[in-house]
Amino acid sequence: MWSYLARRAIQAIFTLLIITVLCFILTRLSADPMAQYATSQRMSAEDREALRERLGLNDPLPVQYLKWLGLALQGELGNSFFSKQPVSLMISQRLPNTLILMVTAEIITVSLALVLGILSAVKQYSTVDNIITALSFIGFSMPIFFIALGLMLIFSVQFKEWGLPYLPTGADIWDKKDPVELLKHLILPVSALVIILTAGYARYIRTSMLEVLGLDYVRTARAKGLTSRAVLFKHALRNAALPLVTIIGLDIPFLIGGALVTEQVYAWPGMGRLFWEYAQRGDFPVVLGILLIISTAVVIFTIITDVVYTFVDPRIRLG
């Protein structure tokens, strides 16, 4: 087990290095930080040259990368080109907001998906299953911005127009410490995320349950007279949940990254917006800082998932 973990850790370091190189190249090629200043009447050619030099953009690309890596290895993510603030500070200001939104959405999504997935599987091809399947496909194929804006137009704008109690658009200013306010402001963005995410999970659980329900040991369990509830939850679900562990394990790190579109639409001050706003401007210290944190989390959670697997599934041994 320990030698396995050591081996994985070494692999992880190389994986992360490769990821940072790729991310650096992609970020650096997708937008030039100097493009911001290109048409500014306030800057002369000399001003532009001085700024390029100061941002280190005149260095060859490998040098720019190595400079960034050197800082990162010392635990420094550097300063943003534009706000000049430490990237770590900018991330720490946004991360809690993102976690509140994403963890809430993930918990509701998984719970709801379990209920829908199991119901679908047990009542395969029934009306209930057909409705759930149809809704899943609609949710799965709808673009998130459409759902997010649609919910806002109905439950904020139209409800207000109809004189009903309405939900905030998210663009208002509210007290983050007030739990009632927090709840009110979470309803729409969390609903939008849940609609999109549940569909996928529910389909996984349905398929996985169907596969297990058809196996011999489930028939044996039924044959020995267990109640259908016991068969379902004690025998079938425990095995059917195994692939779910992998999916959730892989999804958790992405919760840190936030929800780009949902955060944009509901003006939620989270990581997704931070990433998008600075990526557009080619601010690679910020973009790479965020990507490094997410990819580190992915690598760590993959290892954790593997370890958790050995507990959930005794057939698997690490070695």
Binding site: S30, A31, D32, M34, A35, Q36, Y37, A38, T39, S40, Q41, R42, M43, S44, A45, E46, D47, R48, E49, A50, L51, R52, R54, L57, N58, N79, S80, F82, S83, K84, Q85, M90, Q93, R94, L149, M152, L153, S156, V157, K160, E161, Y166, P168, T169, G170, A171, D172, I173, Q264, V265, Y266, A267, P269, G270, R273, L274, W276, E277, Q280, G282
Partner: protein, 595 residues
């Protein structure tokens, strides 16, 4: 007796200890003491009028008047010498003051100064090299410290200090010295003629020369990452920022010492809302009171929200223009050689004119832009610098076709014209480069079909702005000249000078920062633009600029598509003051009110 004395002494020691312990508490709350100071007998020593009204922002009273703006971007820092974002200019207009500013009519007016320096009032010397500003009496920062000519000198020194890294020193580097004969007089001497001096130390649409507080920043370097530059805690504008939650919102409270008096409102908040669709919904629910940055394509959507939401469209000095790659690798008379040769047929003015006549610009303005803006005749639209004798050419596809025939481009069997250009048979088929914004995609599609009608194949390519405007070294489309025809928005204001027509600004490997992206070296035009900056007299400059505008117009060097408009939406309860393109909404926030 001796014992009494020792008792007395020890009492004195005790008392002094107690008093010393109390002292810091007294300095912590100067706000409450300051106003009473004006009533104290000390007032006889200094003129009573010259006392600050307070030392802290005025707290928000119960039931006070407040408005919330929604902005689609967040300023990356506030003091605009260190950032180029318009959002920083807007916040600066709310929190800091300059010597002058532009009003709702586009006039240059004093802000901290008593009047605008002119030759008539002795503010501008005969040689144009010395500008004298006179500050208003009794100016104070929001913390109660006096605001004097020393702050202006400090601001200049901070910009020029090699220990600081402002994004631009343009203009400030032309100042030889600043003298301050007294607290309210600022005498600026330039080392060479600098006609755009009005953009220095002043707040305008493209410049934000706020005066910085010497008492807060003196002796510090590395100001670009200084906390105060990121978020000033002391100001001279109508408001002081008291709270800024990154990515979320900003709260501003009245500056007790604002030179224009106490603002009508008790609080202004700015919420950062990246999606205009959300801002629109929030205006409808009243979650926010205004949004300053709708696109021209949203004019009808916002207009349909009356009477709850009001639409304001302000025609601007920015313009969307299409232009030709006129690069020559050989240069002209040894000037302005570029890395690439432009598309050969564009060298013929008849072809350039035909393409201008062949695009139905009026129809684009009427349909896509709801008729809320205009097709301008020159690159100085909606400003006092416009050459009003010019009229844009009307859509005339027949005349366009005739011109192309005359230039030798005959219609081929595939419907595309071709003809001889410098000994080679060239098809009138070329790439058009622009960015990915929706309105540019829509307009390019219309242009494509218009030009197809006159036998010209126009092939749009949409590149993200980060690459389109990228640097020469990064292979940016504009500076490297990798286009046949291209289009984007720019504007030359508040000062009209631009070196985008100078031969010496043509970008190339030897001159990667050049801004003449038309790659157009026309020595006559280049020299004419130089002359615009050769005089300090605005009348002489206008005459030269009129000539330059006519020259560009007659040579069909650019196709002026439309003057850009600023599109605002605001709730019925919010009552902004009068404003124009040069001032923008934020210039007179002290008069804002609510219904």
């Amino acid at each position: 007796m001796k014992r009494n004395l020792s008792v007395l002494l020890s009492l004195l020691v005790l008392a002094s200890i107690v008093l010393a312990a109390c002292a810091p508490a007294a300095t912590e709350a100067p706000a409450t003491e300051a106003p009473s100071a004006t009533e104290a007998p000390v007032a006889t020593e200094a003129p009573a009028a010259c006392q600050p009204a307070g030392t802290e922002p005025i707290a928000f009273p119960d039931g006070g008047k407040t408005v919330t703006g929604a902005w689609d971007q967040e300023p990356d820092s506030i003091v605009p010498y260190f950032t180029q974002m318009s959002y920083a200019i807007w916040i600066t207009q709310l929190t800091l003051a300059g010597l002058g500013e532009w009003d709702d009519q586009g006039n240059f007016v004093p802000e901290l100064a008593v009047e605008v320096p002119t030759a008539d009032n002795g503010g501008v010397s005969a040689d144009g090299l010395t500008i004298t500003w006179k500050l208003k009496d009794c100016l104070f920062w929001s913390d109660g410290e006096p605001l004097t000519s020393a702050d202006v000198v400090f601001t200049w020194e901070a910009i020029m200090d090699p220990g600081n890294a402002p994004t631009s020193r343009t203009g400030y580097d032309k100042i030889a010295s600043i003298e301050t004969p007294d607290d309210t007089t600022v005498v600026i001497t330039f080392s060479e003629l600098y006609p755009p001096w009005q953009v220095l130390f002043t707040q305008g649409p493209n410049n934000a020369g706020a005066i910085l507080p010497k008492h807060m920043l003196e002796g510090q370097t590395g100001l670009e990452s200084n906390d105060f530059i990121h978020q000033p805690t002391v100001g001279s504008g109508p408001w002081v920022i008291t709270e800024w939650i990154p990515g979320d919102y900003m709260t501003l409270l009245p500056n007790p010492n604002f030179h224009g008096g106490r603002p009508v409102l008790d609080q202004v908040q700015v919420r950062f809302v990246p999606d205009p669709a959300t801002a629109q919904a929030a205006l409808q629910t009243g979650d926010v009171d205004w949004f300053p940055n709708f696109s021209e394509a949203e004019i009808s959507t916002i207009g349909a929200l009356e009477p709850d939401v009001h639409l304001i469209v302000v025609p601007g000095a920015d313009f969307e223009h299409y232009f030709f790659n006129l690069g020559t690798t050989t240069g002209v008379d040894g000037r302005g050689a570029s890395d690439v040769d432009g598309f050969c047929p564009f060298k013929d003015v008849r072809v350039r004119k035909a393409l201008t006549l062949g695009i139905n610009r009026e129809a684009i303005v009427e349909t896509l832009l709801e008729g809320k803006t205009t097709v301008p005749s020159s690159q100085w639209p909606n400003s006092s610098w416009t050459n009003s004798s010019l009229t844009p050419d009307a859509y005339d596809p027949d005349a366009a076709g005739a011109l192309l025939d005359e230039a030798g481009y005959a219609l081929g069997s595939d419907g595309i014209r071709a003809g001889d250009c410098n000994g080679e048979n060239v098809k009138l088929s070329f790439n058009f480069e622009t960015t990915t914004s929706q309105i540019r995609i829509d307009i390019a599609t219309i242009v494509q079909s218009d030009l197809a009608k006159i036998g010209v194949e126009f092939k749009p390519i949409h590149t993200p702005a980060g690459t389109f405007f990228g640097s020469y070294a990064d292979g940016g489309v504009m500076p490297t000249g990798k286009y046949d025809m291209a289009g984007y928005t720019t504007g030359f204001y508040p000062d009209p000078y631009t070196d985008n027509y100078k031969c010496e600004s043509v970008p190339s490997a030897a001159n990667p920062s050049g801004t003449n992206w038309y790659l157009n070296c026309d020595p006559a035009l280049s020299d004419l633009m130089e002359e615009v900056n050769a005089s300090a007299d605005p009348a002489v400059r206008k005459e030269k600029l009129d000539e330059a505008q006519k020259y560009i117009f007659d040579n069909y060097y650019v196709i002026m598509m439309y003057a850009r408009a600023n599109v605002y939406g605001h709730t019925d309860r919010f009552v902004p003051g009068p404003f124009g393109f040069f001032s923008n909404l934020n210039w007179n926030s002290e008069v804002w009110d609510v219904k």
